[in-house]
Amino acid sequence: MARNHITTTINGDEYEFLCDTEQTLLDCLRDELFLTGTKEGCASGDCGACNVMLDGQLVCSCLVLGVEADGKSMETIEGMAHGEELHPLQQKFLELNGLQCGICTPGILIAAKALLERDPDPTETEIRYWLAGNLCRCTGYDKVVRSVQAAAEEMRKG
């Protein structure tokens, strides 16, 4: 079976890759493009470890096919820091211990960034509900939520 030729923009760069029709976007990122920062926790849309932005929408990349990314643009964890400079969310997660094992972290960071782009000043409850699709077995979410709050504050200051 011929493989599909996909052209897409990831973190501002053009990418081209070949994929099978049934291959998920998550597997395309990881196995075809070696962008392994996006993680698999369930492959069924329940954990959020695979969160990426697809044309401005927060999606579970395990539920999207690679072919659906054709002509679209994506943001993944690899594009979050600018060189040496961490994104304020990453910086706050670092300072406030918003992560432990770190397997859920890329998905949480992408989801939190999507939230702060929609609403720069969410309440704690809004943060908790927004992140309800991101499972973390390590942290109990407390420091995750505090990190997001602190980053939001930092970003509002500009």
Binding site: E22, L94, L99, I103, R128, L131, L135
Partner: protein, 782 residues
Amino acid sequence: MSRAVFGESVKRIEDPELLRGEARFIDDISIPSMLEAALVRSPHAHAEIRGIDAAAALELPGVHAVLTLDDLRPYLLTEFLVVGLPSPSYKQERNRPVLAGDEVVYVGEPIAMVIAEDRYIAEDAAQLVEVDYDLLPAAADCRDALADGAPTVHKDAKDNLLAEFSMGYGDIDAAFGKAAHIYSEHITQHRGGSHSIECRGAVAVHDPGTDQLTLWVSSQMPHSTLRVLVDMLGRDENQMRVVTPDIGGGFGPKLVVYQEDVAVSVAAIKLGRPVKWIEDRREHFIATTQERDQYWEVEVAVDEDARILGLRGSIVHDHGAYTARGINLPQNSAESLPGPYEVPAFRMNTKLALTNKVPVTPVRGAGHPQAAFTIERLMDRIARELGLDRTEVRRRNLIQAQDMPYTRPLKTRGGVAVVLDSGDYPRSQKDTLERAGWDQFPARQLAAREEGRYIGIGLANFVKGTGRGPFEQVTVRIGTSGRVHVYTGGTAIGQGTKTMLAQIVAEQLGGDMGNVTVTTGDTAATALGIGTSNSRLAVTAGTSAHVAAGKVREKALKIAAHVLDSPVEDLEFDGAEIHVKDRPGRIANVGVKLGELAHAMAGTPGYSLPGGMGPGLEATEHVILDSKAFASGTAVAEVEVDIETGGVVILNYVLAHDCGRIINPMLVDGQAIGGTAHGIGNALYEWMGYDENGQPLTTNLADYLLVTATEMPRIDLLHHCSPSPLNPLGVKGVGECGVVPAPGAIISAVEDALTPFGVHIDRAPISPPEIVALIEQGRERS
């Protein structure tokens, strides 16, 4: 001057890569020419295998092999993983075969490993492997499994009793004989799986040229994996290396050595290509060990003042189909039942029942939460029967601070006495109650009832033995680069092990954490290693690191004294240098870099070493710590119960905990809160369901509920510090502590909220429908 880092909330050294998505977890490892594996697993809880037909699978393009037990046998000295911890109580030896032979005994048991160009092809091919089964009756419920005439889990067995043991002390009959009151409870407890967000996985690489086998594995115990491979493959240690990449959570089940770890290793040798196997979530539900059911029958004898005279009872424990670890889990449960309370006489009998389900091994807490839940349920019962406040009953029975260390006439599994080493339990309870506003609660409750809301409050005390010995190996080495390298047999599973060790070592070697690198979980880095379990690394590896760093410090200072021609007392560490202290009349800033010292001690052919000292600038330690350090604490939960839906909301949660001296407060908070989240799950949400035929019912994260950010309350933490006298750092473990009191405190609170309905709760977890049913029963009674 050297900076102090021990005891500070320093940032974690493991985080920058994790935050950038640059960390390397097992599934991120990709090696040229690597093949991928998928497993054919039993869909039946119990069946005989008549034959396996792989022809159709092998025809699928991209499939390289379908390996069954017969294919692996030529590479194996034994086909069984013999891993059970020693105990005289076993009645049957039930070791897992690497792949099933002629019988499968649980849904998920691996039967064949399919190896293909990629995982998609391997999974498709696994579907095409035809296994001819003859179904056999299954034993699903552990109580039924012990009944006469129950179907046996293994067809060659006469019954399902895997092990039985008793423990106790004191004159139990006399205690019950003189009791003013005796209360009995039947308590059902269930804990689910670990559900690290990263499932298991392994990548095996064999180099035929050197005959070297490297196994990358997401494991808490790579050294035990190596030992099992030595036993099974008959290869020397020096032909193998087991190494852990970044690990996406462990929580217990990753301390087990699994069939897939061995099969993947053999596959790499047989096929001459690297082979990767990554567990998916469904497999994690059916093939990774769990901690499931315990049925407790307990009786407590008290005097007229509600003081405990004796405690006795029995546990039936669901062991699963094989021994993947030992009897340790229910042993922990039985042994830790008395908890922080004075119990003059004690006797427990425990039966481990084989069932046709995936093996049971410890999950975060390892049997301790069940014990804490049971004793706390009894405390609430005594209070209710005698009309006393729940806190008062506990206060009267808590071990007093002046009685520390407190020896309980019990022995741990290794024959070491149970000694509660330090702590002030009454103060823990008192402070927690104050913080939670316990005394003002009746007013809050009354006000809520007037609004038609049902709120309740509950508490639980706990102790948790941590830092199980006998040791953890640590090497501290200053390299010629001037950097400090730390190597440990322990593994980093998210708890901040690298940071913790870097803090301990940096404290003595210049205070610059940026100058310290830490290698964990690599059999090539340390000859010995026990690994991560039982909240043990801060105590065991921490102590070894502390002592090793002290030795390296001493030696470095001596060499520096020689090189700088200055007495040791005049020298001090500063970052990656040793300086002559800045004193009046001295020339400041005379110093030597650590790298130069390491160079000097690396030796030069034909020249003596400086100062007549031995070579190298390193020390390896394995400080022996046989006794456990007991962490302790109290939890108070305030909840609201929706009496229509049975939904429970946690309004407030206070946790006081005492893990001795704290190395990094920020990390300790994170562990305590993370553990609490797990405990909340065990109280209200997590249920690994099986039907009566041993078919798993909850096999995805939509059916099996992990706590999310919305259910988690903010946890109000109180720290107490009773340094452990057992190790030079005074530390105790913390990783599992949060889990232990949570079900006890929450269920107590739910019961309190439902007092108007006379509800009594005898199980954990409790689901909304069960709560609604209990309310109904209560209404009917009244």
